[in-house]
């Protein structure tokens, strides 16, 4: 998919969780949201964008979410249980 659309969607999610004063909680919220509502192919593409292009244009809370909760977002760790 057009990665810039994914960047915009991820940043929109970040805008909501930025209200949380504790940024690690905010990043947790954003990561959960990605994991719960995004198709895995979208999540994987966002992760490769982070790896290959440094995630340019992504808000810091998204960057933190992707880095801190990478395995879950990649679907390599079971989403619940």
């Amino acid at each position: 998919m057009d990665v810039q659309r994914l960047v915009k969607m991820a940043n929109d999610i970040a805008s909501f969780f930025e209200a949380e004063p504790d940024t690690s909680k905010g990043a947790r919220g954003a990561a959960d949201h990605l994991k719960n509502f995004w198709d895995p192919r979208m999540r994987r593409q966002l992760l490769s964008y982070l790896d290959e292009q440094g995630g340019a244009g992504l808000k810091s809370i998204v960057l933190e979410a992707l880095r801190q909760h990478r395995l879950e977002i990649a679907g390599q760790q079971p989403p619940d249980r």
Binding site: M1, D2, R5, M9, D12, I13, S15, F16, E18, A19, E20, H33, K35, N36, F37, W38, D39, P40, R41, M42, G75, P78, P79, D80, R81
Partner: protein
């Protein structure tokens, strides 16, 4: 006291004699023959002669009023009983009828001696139903004669879910009469459900399956077997070549619960992925997210009847008199009894001022896109002025979140004086509205797509739930947070697990325990990851990873934003399967057309906006041979996944087995009780009219912070106006149904409402053709100068495909659910002489597709 004496009988006969002396004696050829109260009474009192003769002054020659497309007013048969006047005033609340004149000159007058069409009449049919004679009579009864049987069923238009008696002769519906025992509508109706059912037998309906290899080829009619075989073959071929995630489906909010459930089952069990979504994506998906986050479940909190106990009614981003007219009548009745009204809307909807007796205490006429700032400011006033219901909030909600939220909304940023700069609503009005909401007794919020269809749609839903929690306005009658759902079964479609991330009853697909239940029942292994949502499907189609789609009754080429993006996505797919009544806009891009069935042609259930499950009953056999659930079942079987149901009741039984909130629901119980509001289970065997009594579904309510983030869709020098969209009474959604009925008499085209100031600056006159251009595209509409909107804002509807309203809407969307931001588009409006390029292309493409339909290779039935 005696009611039957010879003297009384004489008096009654005398009065009847007077009536009949001025009444046509054409009983045998009268449409009410045999069903006329006047005729019955003449018989009952034993009238045998009219001593006065018939030659004196009379009303027999008064001409009929045939201006309304659905009913005829024949004043020669009127006995001036005033029932119609009372029905209009007391049931509908429109006051379009009155008795004009005195004594012998008394007559029923629509408006001020106008015709029905020229008056304020909204054609709800209440007067026709109340009329004891043939004075007000359905034209269909004039044409077809009286029905011979009646079947109780549920309207397939809006989310009010009116119960109707379909009165039938053979297989033909003569008329739809609102059911007095209907739990949602209590015997009332609107112009759509009551009269606009002609689409069900319209000649445009396609009654044979059709195929074509490419959208530039003519269609070819084929047998059901060939069509289903082709679909299954293509789906399997594409999955083999592009992976199992390369196909998906859309469930229809117009179909029954049983039918939507089967489509999502087809996707999860037979396709082996979770690429299923529903049109709620583009309307109320933020309701699901917001109410689930705060209260614990994705549904409105009240029954419609609850409005009768409300002291303050808040209407946000909705126009009930247009979108949900039957509920609006209830609301108007309550307002006339003295409840206070707060309207939050960029446009002056009818409710803002409807004489007699309805005038909003506050109309917060905000700039489109600033809802969240406003709701935070209302909460700011409640918290900082000490109007919070602390006892409720502390006892019923998570205390730590409550404290954090209080600090958040108390920030100076959300003081009305600051928010005034953003929303354009004077601070004093915000304070007044907040005080009224918090202190006016029971306060109930009703909202529509003006809340959800924003980049912060979900945030706004959360904001409203926060406000209701902090004032204790939840968990009893008269209060609550109530989405006015758009389509007849959008609540049901969501309940059935139509979203890619959740199974029926709003349980996340990643929950292994829940998945296990389904895996056992369905005998498959389910994919634990969420699938693609509608807009993601379009994006994935354009990058080549999504190749085929099965669309059950949905027209996103017209209804979804940024039409040109949607059209390119559809063109990029290899197999687009549309199951619908008509060759709709999406079907013009389809390779397979499967003819669907209307609500009159099948059994099932719909769930309305108050979570009320009601029966849909078959009135006639499916015109194309199969009901929609049978088509889905055939596709599953052809793909090698076995599905077998003999009747939709068996599907409901499966739904009940798998869904705790619906465990107690069955067709048998629905037939017995008439309707059931979920949750319905061992704790509430007859259903639950009011939710969150005593405790929230999620346990403790969760206050959630809602930072206002301005949408990226901003006005600029090039696009200085904000376009917002809405609906009108006589048309429904994309208009596929209502455009094929007499309702076009009220609304032949979508018009652009523009304020006189903006119009004058641009040299635009009333009725002029204007171009409306946004960053996404441009279309041409007819302008109407209007004082319902403020300078800087323009407004239109989206009922007609040629308007191409969605050519100009952008692909901005709600952060949480991707619900499109229909309600805010920066545009410029300028006078023009001809249609836009898109509209010309659309006209040519439509003509070409109609030709390909006409040229189709046909087969015998």
């Amino acid at each position: 006291m005696r009611t039957q004496t010879p003297r009384l009988a004489d008096l009654r006969r005398g009065i009847m004699e007077l009536y009949i002396s001025d009444h046509p004696l054409d009983c045998l050829t009268c449409p009410a023959n045999g069903h006329c109260e006047l005729q019955d009474m003449a018989g009952a009192v034993g009238l045998r002669e009219v001593r006065y003769g018939y030659d004196g002054a009379n009303h027999l020659e008064v001409p009929k009023d045939e201006s309304n497309p659905y009913f005829t007013f024949d004043p020669s048969k009127c006995i001036v009983c005033s029932r119609c006047v009372r029905a209009c005033a007391e049931v509908q609340g429109t006051f379009a009828l009155t008795i004009d004149g005195r004594g012998f000159a008394s007559k029923v007058s629509p408006g001020q001696r106008e015709s029905f069409m020229d008056s304020e009449c909204v054609s709800c049919g209440a007067c026709v139903q109340a009329c004891p004679t043939a004075t007000l009579m359905e034209n269909s009864v004039y044409q077809m004669g009286q029905p011979d049987r009646a079947v109780v069923t549920t309207c397939a238009y809006c989310g009010v879910g009116c119960s109707f008696k379909a009165e039938v002769k053979g297989d033909q519906v003569v008329r739809m009469v609102p059911n007095k025992d209907g739990h949602a509508n209590h015997g009332h109706s609107c112009v759509k459900g009551r009269f606009a059912f002609g689409y069900t037998t319209h000649p445009d309906r396609i009654l044979k399956p059709m195929l074509r290899k490419s959208i530039d080829e003519p269609w070819k009619e084929v047998s059901w077997n060939d069509a289903i075989g082709y679909v299954a073959g293509e789906f399997k071929r594409i999955q083999a070549g592009h992976g199992s995630d390369s196909i998906g489906a859309i469930t229809s909010s117009r179909c029954t619960n049983e039918e939507t459930f089967l489509v999502q089952k087809l996707v999860r069990a037979a396709f082996g992925n979770n690429n299923v979504d529903t049109c709620a994506r583009v309307c109320h998906s933020p309701t699901g997210y917001g109410l689930k986050t705060t209260l614990g479940t994705s549904a409105g909190t009240q029954a419609f009847d609850s409005v009768e106990k409300a002291g303050v009614i808040v209407v946000i981003g909705a126009s009930p008199t247009d979108g949900h007219p039957v509920f609006a009548s209830r609301m108007k009745r309550r307002l006339r009894e003295g409840a206070k009204l707060i309207v939050v809307d960029p446009r002056a909807i009818d409710l803002v001022r409807t004489p007699p007796g309805i005038e909003a205490a506050c109309h917060l006429q905000l700039q489109p896109g600033t809802n969240v700032a406003l709701i935070n400011s209302l909460a700011h006033v409640v918290v900082t002025e000490g109007l919070a219901n602390e006892a409720f909030a502390l006892e019923r909600c998570e205390p730590a979140d409550y404290q954090k939220w209080k600090a958040f909304v108390s920030q100076q940023t959300y003081a009305p004086e600051q928010v005034e700069q953003v929303t354009g609503v004077p601070a004093a009005q915000i304070r007044q509205a907040a005080r009224l909401y918090a202190t006016g007794g029971n306060a109930a919020i009703y909202y529509g797509l003006g809340v959800t269809e924003h980049s912060q749609g979900s945030t706004m839903v959360i904001g409203m739930a926060n406000l209701a929690m902090v004032t204790g306005n939840l968990g009893r009658e008269g209060v609550g947070v109530n989405p006015l759902r758009g389509q007849n079964n959008v609540q049901g479609a969501c309940d059935m697990g139509s979203f890619p991330h959740e199974l029926s009853g709003y349980r996340h697909i990643s929950d292994a325990g829940v998945r296990g239940l389904f895996e056992k029942e369905w005998n498959v292994t389910l994919n634990p990851e969420p699938g693609l949502r509608i807009p993601n499907m379009f994006d994935a189609a354009l990058d080549g990873s999504f190749k085929a789609i099965y669309i059950q009754g949905e027209d996103f080429a017209q209804s979804d934003p940024n039409t040109q993006h949607v059209e390119s996505a559809l063109r990029a797919m290899e197999c687009v399967v549309v199951q619908d009544l008509f060759l709709n806009e999406t079907a013009k891009f389809a390779h397979v057309f499967l003819p669907g069935s209307t609500f009159l042609e099948k059994d099932g259930t719909f769930t309305n906006a108050e979570r009320r499950i009601q029966r849909v009953r078959k009135v006639m056999p499916p015109m194309a041979g199969l009901a929609d659930w049978e088509i889905t079942m055939a596709i599953a079987n052809a793909m090698g996944y076995s599905m077998h149901y003999d009747h939709p009741s068996e599907i409901m039984d499966e739904i009940a087995r798998l869904t705790p909130t619906l465990r107690g629901v069955s067709f048998e119980k629905l037939d017995r009780l008439g309707s059931i509001q979920w949750p319905c289970n061992d704790n509430a065997p007859e259903g639950t009219p009011t939710m969150h009594v005593g405790q929230f579904v999620r346990g403790k309510g969760k206050f959630t912070m809602t930072e206002y983030v301005a949408t990226e869709e901003r006005t600029s020098r090039k696009y200085p106006l904000i376009l917002t969209t809405g609906r009108i009474l006589s048309q429904y959604n994309v208009g596929a149904q209502t455009r094929r009925t007499g309702n076009v008499a009220w609304h032949q085209e979508d018009v652009l409402e523009i304020h006189a100031h903006d119009a004058e600056q641009r040299g635009i006159a009333d009725d002029a053709k204007v171009s409306v251009a946004s960053r996404a595209g441009n279309v041409v509409l007819t302008a109407r100068i209007s004082d319902r909107i403020q300078p800087g804002v323009v407004y239109t509807t989206f009922h007609h495909p040629v308007s191409g309203t969605n050519v100009i809407t952008t692909d901005n969307s709600d952060w949480a659910t991707n619900c499109p931001e229909y309600k805010v588009t920066a545009v410029e409006v300028s006078p023009v002489a001809r249609h836009s390029e898109w509209q010309r292309q659309h006209r040519d493409f439509t003509a070409r597709q109609q030709a390909l339909l006409k040229e189709r290779e046909t087969i015998e039935a």
